[in-house]
Point group: D2
């Protein structure tokens, strides 16, 4: 052990593979889904559907398996390895990438909380590089998710009732990546976050996660699962995150993944890991902005007598972007490493949220700064930064909005008795007075 | 004279009329041009074309005439009155509004620099509320406009050569609002900024403005004026700002509006006035954001037990937006009043640029803050803030980008010998020592 | 009435007088109190005491009388006039200026809430330009003032009990400008904010303001009023704001200025007016920074081959400072004018708080930016910006800290039913639909 | 090799030792030098002088030796180890710490560029823990240092002329930490940056570094070395950085450390390393702020009914401070590691400058935010944050101001042909197309 920022050979290889996949399959993704959208009578969701071949290529290239740990038959390493991959994907493209990563997010509660039996029943299709099943974490609801566990709040609106050997699920969800499946009949595998009424004294303790597969849906009446609409989004336009409804959907009791009392903890841990990965997304976005803006500044004169990089106002913005990107990467990596060491520690969680907040907000500011320095040309959709802004602007508001749940989580950690701010860096503190004693 | 922020009865009436026009014609504008864009085989420019009835309504409501001073037969008052109107338009809609304001911008060089004869020849169609002609200021070029007058730079690429009784104009332009006309055959009236080669010792002194009307274009071969493309833009999607080409376009010598030696000054003065109006656009945008976000915060609980306005993090963002809007309005109004008093003073110009920079950047930040506080719901295109961000983000980069020309203009004013920073506020300074003498 | 930013001749005269006073008496103030502090055995409060001649000159120059309205025998105009004066003082010096302004603040509750009889009894010494009495608003307490009226809070700790024809006051106060007097035996006139226990159902309704004069103190035992300490402050080092204690201080019943039920409103209104004046202080500070930094940038080359103003990074910072100053002034003036029109309206109050927040935070940022651009030389105490930072940094945290009471006040205004965000600008809104009807 | 953020056991030990030293000797430092300053007839430099015992303790505790590499007889490890130490010192105190670190800076050119012979001659006293000699890097000049190597600039004003076996040095210097020595007769060892006129074609190539010891000074007439003044500084008040003058100071030829052609490179490399350490200083400052403000927020109610940590506005500021601190530390460590791997690479240098800029500016913002959240109490000098602001504000402007030299250095790196922005992270890039080939 010692402070070190060099990738191991394995990490280098993981990165190369991700980069190679991105160069081959993601570089052209936007043109594919924009072409799909431009077809006469195209519907919004045709964008998403047009990316199916990319998703299949990702599965074949091992990018789904890489999101499952080796102990469970996958090829995945730590969160730090995942962060390296996510950066490479988002440095090239966003929507098709999120479809791939959404599947990993959908499996995460199963990985964290699943029994060997559940792993056996549900992971197999995802370990097989040939098939390309979709998985989804189905948590968010139309009326808001930031306060789902609050005392005095309304709690999750999706409710499960046990009837004999089954759970009966009803309620509406929205935004869950991949949750509609390619044909609006559901993802192959979903972790549905819901509330088992009266199972605990407060909203938080009633939260459970129940597995719903596509076969479960098929075993019900058609009306048990409906895609109500595909919300058109400002960016990430080829992602699937429909408004859906469960209506008396019945699944076997054995699909319970995290029972009341445990569900909320699993959800929180899942979103803690994903926070660091949103950090990595922001880094990818900033890489794109910086590379594009630097190339522009090195060649454009805009009618003047020297290239724009020589203008201090321009280079100052480039420097801002670069420093933000470097800081976000260094912090995200540290958060991922801390999580890999102690996934359930508050100290690691704090860093993961910090990385999410810093990197996501930095990414938006950096795209705006890139646009500012390039000037009016960036307003043309032929230039990439306009679209990138629309993609980037979700980073602060999805995966737990930064104003709400993300900052509130850090606030709670600060409030914990015995909170040691530097534990993730130096280990649990021993007071300096003790040290003095050794003199 | 005394410091006063109350609108005069006339100003109140102007505002009411603009508000009424906006409520009647602009509120539905986006749905009109989005419907036009959704038609099968729709081209980009169909958005713009679908707004023609709105433009005609604007002419009938006197909004074109209001951009021409009373002394020249219009109904226009000062720049402060214009700012009040612009705010009301942009508080409701952006694209159709810019089409209206672009016409006023197109007339401004004529208003400033025209001889009585030129006024007589060219203003008439715009004074008649029944017709709805388009005017355009055709200045910007594909290779950049920030340094058009720079020593050592490449200068304007659009060049005019005198041949007998005519000027022959060649070159490419881009972005000029309304410059293509409804049918790509040009605006009814254009001020084309160009360079008369060798007419002066440096790039700046060679700049001229020549009037080109639709009839002038018709009198030439078709190839003399071509719309090369309609750049698709990130926002302001229903605005007309095509990439155009003049190729040996001949116009009568008497169309010279501002000859070499005078052209650059007229361009600068035109863009000084427009800077204050971009300030007003930003105010309109911030009004929209604030009203929308406040209404949201007063009603939404997002699963918690109190409305979001009670959350300090949310209200702090609302307060930021509100203060920015108030500051931008106060400064914009001051700039407009200073311009109305002394349009050609550097002191007034500085304030106009300051208002443009402050308000445009504040507008973008405010939309982003509005999105942050509303959270993930704002990522749906059903919510207005995503589209508004795309519209707002042009404010810092058009009408002279803030990083380039706008800040550079203030820099030059600072560098002037005898510069008095508070002249626009208190009049030219007399040194305090003089005051002491009165004791 | 019409939007106008020109000073009236009276306002010009007021400004000239303030400027002249500042040039004569304030320019040298810092050197006076630093010299006092440098004397062997100097105590902290000697700085303040050394400014007594300046305060007397201010009284003679009419600056105290100018803080009392004409209707009550003074020469004061509106809050806008006060803002003009405050800017001129703070553009030259801070500490001695605050001593002058603190006296005005101390009189404000009397001006607002006093009966003719109280005016008669207490204003006279301040109207006479020969004497130079001190007045003080004694509100803040060691345990905090931001939540003094909160439900569930601890309320003001200074308590008054009626005993026969007297009030008996006990409790500790801190920070009140001028409250110690030149000799630690109290200001000539103080408005002491306190709580009459059980006089109302909640903390807010129990708040009262009772007048305490120096003669009242003299009429008590010495122990009834004690200066416990003079807190050494980071900046504003020559201001008097001691930690004081009232212990069974008896004053006649007729000294009650604002009884329970009314006291809190008077305090709030007083601090609303002062908020706009803190805005003006920030403007003065920014003027100093800008003038100093601009002069530096126009002359210094720092070993390079051109003056620093030519470096875009330097001029960009100058531009930032200038724009902030202009925006703060425009908004502060608007707030003051709104207050002058409707002092008790929430609309005016919102603007006053906005001006305070914007200008105070802008001032601190601007001093920091000035230091950044000047670089290491600004770290020498021979340069003015280091001291100015220390003075400026109080603006956001005194007169109601911006994080606490100031933003919370705006939050409450937003929450009012029927809140109209643009009322201070355009008057109470009539809905646009109504306007349509007039067509 | 793999990405890892855990300290090695050695690093843990280094940290413990630094922490222990800080707890024992630095915690009381400010009270010591403030007491010295409070003595009657105290001069400015008495603050510095009063810290001599602390410096001696540092030497005994091995903190000087720790700044010399093991290969040269010291105990020093990499820049990352130094960064860990610096953070611990600045987390407790600033002035006495800088005195210690300034000595290390003074030795750095010798370490980098010294021949074995020079090492032998000059390092010995610093390796012996009993003596406590001072070393100083004497670079900065009154007229500015940012452009010392600029084409067309005035170059270093301190000039060396070779006369026989000696160099004769004349010129003025300022700010060099420790350069005056405890008694104004010079540091024990100084690296004097100067210009050997006409030794090269431009200013940069003429720069040399010549060693000047206290004995060299003693061997000259008294007038050859004069402390002209001790500039009083806003913060870091116990640091020694006098305005000094060399006047025909003669030193043996063999004192040439870096001859013309090499001097500027050595200076740049020295300041590259120190940039990362300024990053570490900023971290230490932010630690202080965070710990202080968090403790405050967990206990203070300010008259309200809950602790301030529960107020979102307060916790949002705490979160900002914490995230900045974590980001700055992660980036600084990365920069230090990159430097340790390839000290002369532009990629490492870029990160060191980035760390300096980010951390120094974050530190100032964080102190200001700490003050804002604590409110008016922080204006008392009894609270630590006011003094800390004054100390922190030097970080962006010393060691190369961020507006000038620091950003300009990054700008130049961006402009290098073949610049690869991610080299420090992933190694020199191979194009993704090559990777594709491996598929
Ligand atoms: C592209 C995309 C992909 C997504 N993928 C998934 C997915 O795979 N699975 C899934 O379940 N969801 C997904 N989501 C949804 C998303 O992760 C969450 O719904 C979203 O982050 C929650 O939004 P919010 O925090 O803004 O909460 P909301 O509850 O909607 O809150 C709205 C806002 O109110 C404010 N607020 C709320 N509470 C507080 C408070 N206590 N204090 C202060 N402010 C508060 C905050 O400003 C907050 O942003 C996706 C969304 C998008 C757009
Ligand atoms: C919706 C819309 C409407 C428009 N309407 C019109 C119109 O009616 N008529 C018209 O003529 N044009 C119009 N334009 C074009 C627009 O006003 C200008 O072209 C644009 O503002 C100029 O861009 P720029 O300042 O970014 O200049 P560019 O020359 O394109 O410069 C690009 C960038 O380079 C940098 N830069 C350039 N020079 C310097 C420098 N010296 N120092 C530092 N940085 C520098 C700046 O970051 C600048 O933003 C419109 C554009 C849009 C999008
Ligand atoms: C130079 C100077 C002159 C002064 N002159 C006077 C004077 O003449 N008369 C006088 O009475 N006082 C005077 N004061 C004191 C000053 O006006 C107030 O005491 C001070 O502004 C109140 O401090 P605060 O708002 O920070 O409140 P505190 O109650 O001290 O609060 C501290 C901090 O806690 C946080 N906080 C508190 N409550 C909340 C909340 N509900 N929500 C979120 N955050 C919260 C805020 O960050 C706040 O800044 C002076 C002070 C100085 C330094
Ligand atoms: C406590 C302390 C300790 C110090 N220790 C040492 C030491 O040990 N040894 C030593 O030699 N020095 C020391 N110094 C001095 C310090 O390191 C440098 O002198 C200082 O950083 C150089 O200042 P500057 O970059 O602001 O340069 P200056 O040349 O003074 O420039 C001033 C400002 O002008 C602007 N500027 C200059 N050039 C440009 C440009 N090309 N483009 C844009 N803007 C520009 C920048 O805003 C810059 O900040 C110390 C200083 C202090 C206060
Ligand atoms: Mg779009
Ligand atoms: Mg001080």
């Amino acid at each position: 052990n010692m402070v070190d920022f060099n990738l191991s050979p394995t990490q280098q290889a993981i990165r190369s593979a991700a980069r190679s996949f991105a160069a081959t399959h993601l570089k052209t993704a936007r043109s594919i889904y924009e072409a799909a959208a431009a077809k006469p009578d195209a519907r919004w969701e045709d964008r998403f559907r047009s990316t199916k071949p990319i998703y299949e290529a990702a599965a074949q290239a091992g990018l789904i398996k890489a999101q499952i740990p080796q102990a469970l038959g996958g090829t995945g390493g730590g969160l730090i390895d995942a962060a390296i991959v996510v950066e490479e994907l988002y440095a090239v493209e966003t929507s098709a990438s999120l479809t791939i990563l959404g599947a990993g997010l959908g499996l995460l509660p199963l990985i964290i909380a699943g029994t060997p039996d559940l792993h056996e029943r549900f992971l197999k299709p995802f370990l097989d590089g040939q098939k390309a099943p979709l998985a989804s974490l189905v948590f968010s609801e139309p009326a808001g998710s930031a306060n789902y566990a609050d005392v005095g709040g309304s709690g999750l609106g999706t409710v499960a009732v046990q009837e004999g050997e089954e759970f009966v699920i009803s309620g509406e969800k929205i935004w869950a990546t991949d949750s509609g499946g390619w044909d609006d009949r559901g993802a192959d595998f979903s972790c549905v976050c819901c509330r088992v009424k009266d199972s605990g004294p407060d909203m938080r303790s009633q939260v459970a996660i129940i597995i719903v597969t596509r076969s479960d849906i098929e075993a019900n009446e058609a009306s048990a699962f409906t895609v109500l609409s595909h919300p058109q989004t400002v960016g990430h336009t080829a992602v699937n995150g429909p408004h859906i409804r469960y209506k008396n959907l019945r699944v076997p009791k054995s699909n319970m993944l995290a029972p009341p009392g445990k569900g909320a903890d699993v959800i929180d841990l899942t979103f803690t890991a994903s926070a660091a990965l949103v950090g990595a997304m922001g880094i990818g976005v900033m890489r794109q902005v910086f590379e594009h803006a630097l190339a522009w500044a090195k060649t454009e004169k805009r009618g003047g007598n020297e290239v724009m990089l020589k203008k201090q106002s321009v280079s100052d913005l480039l420097i801002k972007i670069k420093i933000r990107c470097e800081a976000a990467r260094a912090l995200t990596w540290k958060a991922a490493c801390a999580f890999d060491m102690k996934p359930e520690s508050a100290a690691a969680a704090e860093l993961c949220y910090a990385a999410k907040i810093l990197s996501s907000e930095s990414a938006v500011e950096s795209v705006m700064d890139g646009i500012s320095l390039i000037g009016v040309s960036a307003y043309s959709r032929a230039h990439p930064l306009g679209d990138l802004l629309q993609d980037a602007m979700v980073l602060p508001i999805f995966d737990g909005g930064n104003v709400g749940v993300r900052r509130r989580q850090i606030e709670s950690i600060f409030a914990m008795p015995g909170y040691d701010p530097w534990e993730a860096t130096f280990g649990k503190a021993s007071p300096p007075s003790a040290l003095n004693g050794t003199h």
